[in-house]
Symmetry: D2
Subunit: 93 residues, 4 copies
């Protein structure tokens, strides 16, 4: 990456836009039917992950740690006894 | 996750939708100005990563490997000597 | 549209996915710089609008009326005297 | 809108981001199941349309005309005799 001088385009905002753009392409694998082609999904998922990790790096965020922190908070919002087998949003439980 | 029986909602399609939804929330941190609040970004980025990794897991894809494969292909499409310091799409180089 | 038998793919969910996918392509016009090419923007914007209007039609929603209803509610959430010249979200005003 | 001085935030780029953000919220109505709540869909669809129309206005684009132009082009790419009853992308027909 460095050898192509691309960091100049990688503002946090541009990276967030890129994550959204690639997420749209990932979704396109499932546009008209629920079974996406695995190779195409792998390809688009790789793009989402790449930009997401570049954004984490740009803001000095540790991907594993922010995931753990968020999961912990989700765990508190959706207690097992209430959330089991449901997809209801936490504020409606 | 398992203890909440949530796997039933985690079809690849639902996970791809979730990645796109969370990517929209991540982008919202930058909706009206280019500097997003770091904590909010961390929070939304964690959601994007969580669903992206759940999707990889669901399809038995190794995140690191699909990223490497994709970067390798990108490297071939954007040779250093041509792409240096540019954001031009590869088919216009 | 009818003559191609495409209604079968146009479930509300598929149309919502399509709106999101096209919104990603619209955003791509602004991925690396703030000035998008007007013709490309017109093209992608047309796709967003087309799917959004198909979804309205599918659910028997009148586009003009839902826009007016929503704007009225926004007007109540952002009183002129408070919101003037700000982009603050209403729950922080 | 004018009375709140919000035009200053309405650069084409910010509006395109807003369309994508609202498209994500629209998709959220269908996140875990295919049947979205009609009122919530109406609400989010109104936001998508509002920002899409503001963007058209900002770039002096006539919504109806760009839709017609695009549909005409789609019609040429997907001839009735080939596309009938299929969701295949045009370059694979």
């Amino acid at each position: 990456m460095a050898e192509r001088d691309w960091e100049q385009f990688h503002s946090p905002e541009n990276l967030a836009k890129s994550v959204a753009i690639e997420a749209g392409e990932l979704l396109e694998c499932f546009q008209w039917d629920a079974a996406g082609d695995r190779d195409e999904v792998a390809d688009e998922l790789a793009d989402v992950l790449t930009y997401a990790l570049l954004l984490a790096d740009r803001l000095d965020l540790d991907p594993e740690q922010i995931i753990r922190t968020k999961l912990k908070r989700t765990g508190e919002k959706y207690p097992v006894e209430k959330a089991k087998g449901r997809s209801t949003k936490y504020d409606r439980l």
